[in-house]
């Protein structure tokens, strides 16, 4: 994650010459309070990038609505004036999905920050998109409930952003991603109309538009309200930590736990460099000499957790764990998780910058890909620390580099691209939870054929005929598409 480099990510997008900026700004000020329209360059700098500052751009304006009807008015105006709109939540995304468009505006949803209703009898909450992920669970706790997806950024990231990215977290293995935990959405379309999908029931007839919207990276609509599913807090939780002498042994242990019919709430792996960095940073009590570390969380009733703890401990010992620690009390559990949850900043201290990848692979290939990543890193002259959602095969290699050295940026990006391509070759995908954004556009054609990309683009056009919603992100537009759909040039990436 570079803190110093600025690359104009959309420089390749052909400029649209005919936007009347003064008409746009005047229109925005008619539908929003004056302080909700930001145009001075010094202030706009705060929005020039998201959590991936390798890509920066300044928008024409940033608007900060506080109500859904203000969002609708802004979208209608931008539709009428044909102005690109980039929706943004908390800006913690890691794929430059919220990087501004130079000829467009950023619409910040952070001001729509109310929990509208918590409904414990139906175990749902209606929330606005700017509500942070963690605050939903905090509000639900009074009713003995929680919201399951918990990305590492959950203190800061917004639920609207989680919907845009189909965010995961460390508990996906058992509780699923955002798409499994949202039952309804209200969106404003690219044309400024209001679309309500789902509700408090469990299904509605017809194609699953809810699933289509979740993870669509702000390309199909702007979410203004979300109905999330709440789950009962488990009665009992235990965390087991195990150190291993080899990555392969840890990978086998993961397979053994799953094969035994146990579905942990979370199952995380870290490699030697990540273990040492996390231990230096957080003092979690991890075994520094281990080549790999597993954290396994089990939850359920007291009886269930006791039974599963005994089974998992035995499996880990059989798999050759050199160091096993079990925690059922809250303080020790938190200590064991602290190292994992602070792994990114911990690794960040090892190097001026780091670049976080997000490929997913079938779990059985974990030892192989970690060995290959190590080889590829050596060839690139860079170090890589690995943090891994082992239960669901989602890798987070953290490539260490120095962004003040252009050659290191180039090598880091090339190494990252190679890791993603290798993930696809092993039967996986280029992004498990961070999204394509601007960052992984080039790798989309590794994962998808031209026909598949063209179909995705046709779906985009169905929802956003003028291509004004977050243009240039998510789906690469192929040259052929220009003839095929007569698309506006601004979405073109060549």
């Amino acid at each position: 994650m570079s803190r110093s480099t600025r690359v104009s990510g959309l420089a390749r997008v052909k400029r649209k010459p005919d936007i009347d900026v003064s008409e746009l700004l005047q229109g925005l000020r008619e539908v929003l309070p004056a302080q909700a329209v930001i145009t001075d360059e010094a202030s706009l700098r705060a929005w020039e990038c998201d959590g991936l500052p390798l890509y920066c751009e300044l928008p024409l304006a940033v608007v900060m609505p506080r109500e859904a009807d203000e969002v609708a008015a802004v979208m209608s105006l931008c539709h009428r004036l044909d102005v690109p709109v980039v929706p943004r939540g908390s800006g913690t995304g890691l794929s430059a999905g919220a990087m501004p468009h130079p000829e467009g505006i950023v619409i910040s949803l952070a001001g729509l920050d109310r929990i509208v209703d918590t409904d414990p009898a139906n175990r749902v909450a209606r929330v606005q998109p700017g509500v942070t992920n963690l605050s939903i669970s905090e509000a639900a706790a009074a009713h003995g409930l929680f919201y399951a997806p918990d990305p590492s950024s959950q203190i800061a990231c917004s639920i609207g952003g989680n919907v845009a990215e189909n965010a995961g977290g460390v508990h996906c293995l058992k509780y699923g991603l955002t798409v499994h935990n949202v039952t309804g959405l209200t969106l404003i379309t690219a044309e400024g109309e209001t679309l309500t999908l789902g509700g408090s029931g469990l299904d509605t007839p017809g194609p699953d538009l809810l699933a289509l919207m979740i993870g669509s990276e702000g390309l199909l609509g702007v979410v203004v309200e979300i109905t999330v599913k709440l789950l009962p807090l488990p009665a009992s939780v235990a965390v087991i930590m195990a150190g291993f002498d080899t990555v392969a042994a840890a990978g086998d242990a993961v397979g053994a736990v799953i094969a035994a019919g146990i579905l942990p709430a979370g199952l995380e792996m870290m490699d030697a460099l990540a273990i040492q960095a996390a231990e230096d940073f957080a003092g979690a009590g991890y075994p520094r000499e281990a080549a790999a570390l597993l954290l396994c969380e089990l939850d359920g009733s007291d009886a269930e957790v006791a039974e599963q703890c005994a089974a998992v401990s035995a499996l880990l010992h059989d798999a050759g764990a050199s160091h096993v620690e079990m925690a059922t009390d809250s303080a020790t559990r938190q200590r064991l998780w602290r190292g994992r949850k602070s792994a990114f900043p911990a690794v960040g201290r090892l190097s001026p910058d780091y670049y976080c990848m997000d490929g997913t692979i079938p779990r059985r290939h974990v030892a192989q890909i970690l060995a290959e990543i190590s080889d590829m890193a050596g060839q690139s002259g860079l170090r890589v620390a690995n943090v891994f959602h082992a239960g669901d095969g989602n890798l987070h290699p953290l490539i260490l580099f120095d962004a003040s050295k252009p050659d290191e940026i180039r090598r880091a990006e090339a190494l990252g691209a190679r890791i993603l391509e290798r993930s696809v070759e092993l039967g996986g995908c280029i992004t498990g939870e961070h999204g394509v954004g601007l960052e992984k556009l080039a790798q989309m054609s590794v994962q998808f054929s031209n026909a598949e990309l063209l179909q995705l683009e046709a779906i985009k056009v169905a929802f956003d005929p003028s291509l004004n919603l977050n243009p240039g992100k998510g789906i690469p537009v192929l040259k052929r598409c220009q003839e095929y759909r007569a698309l506006p040039q601004r979405h073109h990436h060549g």
Partner: protein
């Protein structure tokens, strides 16, 4: 057990060439259920069948669309695994493709998810005759729009599903059913209270003046639940198999059935349902009911009503839709099926 995808594709290309609509058909187990009755040249997918990959340690199975659900369940059972959605068999013959197209999910839906929740990826022939793949074999995959899950509930209107990769789960070590004689309102109240508490509940259904609770999990967890909840331990699994066998009320016979998918705690009002499932979130009403009254009741309960079986299946069966949603649904249909050849009119009378 053959790969017939190229034959299916040829049939689609032919239909495109002659501009003649196709009526995609699996085993026909859900004929007369879910969608509207439509015309079209039948496109039989059942020969395109077989499990193509099963990795028990990855919790992943892939099969061709014509594969019977029963065959998939048998393969999984051999490894002590199962489909979390427990797709109903509809008399026995239900296929994977048809189940996905209808998002047909069983009694554990509120706790284990719908069939759409376990879809990891699929192959699709679109209305240009292209074979496309979305998703994959891994749990987490956010590259591109979720075209795979989009097919769940589309009833074949957006393309021909050729194969599906699903997430599977370990079979619980122990599963029991407890029964309580209770009227509907008291049963519903009990379901709603239990659903808010942690526990091993995996089914909660009211039928024939009896509340049935199913608990699944470790032996100790299930035993603990039984101790706390009392009730009669019954060996009868009929409530959980109701849509497999279709031989008990309200599914036996051919009477029209309304299906209301609603907020689980919404109160019972008006006619008493013939069956309450999904912990209150799914309610079936048998016999002739006023369509407007059914839609109003569903709307008031935060959900939607479908004329799920029987009745007039040439009219709209899925209830009203907002003009914005209708416009987007039509554009989406055009994006995937520009010639309108796949199951036209299956979901809505005007599209």
């Amino acid at each position: 057990m053959a790969d017939c995808s190229s034959e299916l594709r040829d049939a689609v290309l032919e239909a495109i060439a002659v501009q003649s609509p196709l009526r995609i058909a699996g085993a026909g187990s859900k004929a007369g259920y879910f969608g509207r009755e439509i015309e079209g040249t039948p496109l039989d997918v059942t020969a395109h069948c077989g499990i193509t990959d099963y990795q028990p340690d990855e919790l992943v199975i892939s099969a061709r669309a014509g594969t019977p659900i029963a065959q998939i369940q048998a393969a999984l059972a051999g490894q002590d695994q199962m489909l979390p959605a427990e797709c109903p068999l509809f008399g026995g013959a239900a296929t994977l493709g048809g189940s996905v197209a209808c998002n047909a999910s069983g009694p554990g839906r509120p706790w284990r998810g719908a069939l759409r929740d376990s879809i990891l990826g699929l192959g699709l022939i679109n209305g240009r005759g292209e074979i496309l793949r979305y998703g994959g074999q891994v749990m987490k995959n956010v590259a591109g729009y979720d075209v795979s899950r989009l097919q769940a509930g589309a009833q074949g209107t957006l393309g021909v599903i050729t194969d599906v990769t699903l997430r599977v789960v370990p079979k619980p070590a122990r599963e029991i059913t407890l029964a309580y004689t209770l009227p509907a309102a008291a049963a519903l109240a009990r379901m709603v209270t239990l659903a808010g508490l942690p526990g091993p509940v995996s089914g909660a259904c009211w039928i024939g003046n009896t509340l049935y609770l199913r608990a699944s999990g470790t032996a100790a967890g299930v035993e603990d639940f039984r101790r706390r909840q009392g009730g009669d331990l019954v060996s009868d699994k009929a409530p959980w198999k109701a849509l497999d066998t279709l031989d008990n009320a309200p599914f036996s016979g051919t009477a029209p059935l309304w299906r209301l998918s609603v907020a689980p705690s919404s109160p019972l009002s008006g006619a008493e349902p013939d069956m309450i499932d999904w912990g209150g979130a799914l309610r079936f009403f048998a016999g002739g009911h006023d369509p407007v009254a059914m839609q109003d009741a569903a709307l008031a309960a935060g959900g939607r009503a479908q004329l799920w079986r029987g009745g007039d299946r040439h009219s709209d069966v899925n209830g009203p839709m907002s003009s914005v949603e209708k416009k987007l649904q039509q554009r989406l249909k055009e994006a995937l099926d520009p010639g309108g050849i796949f199951n036209p009119g299956r979901l809505f009378s005007d599209g």
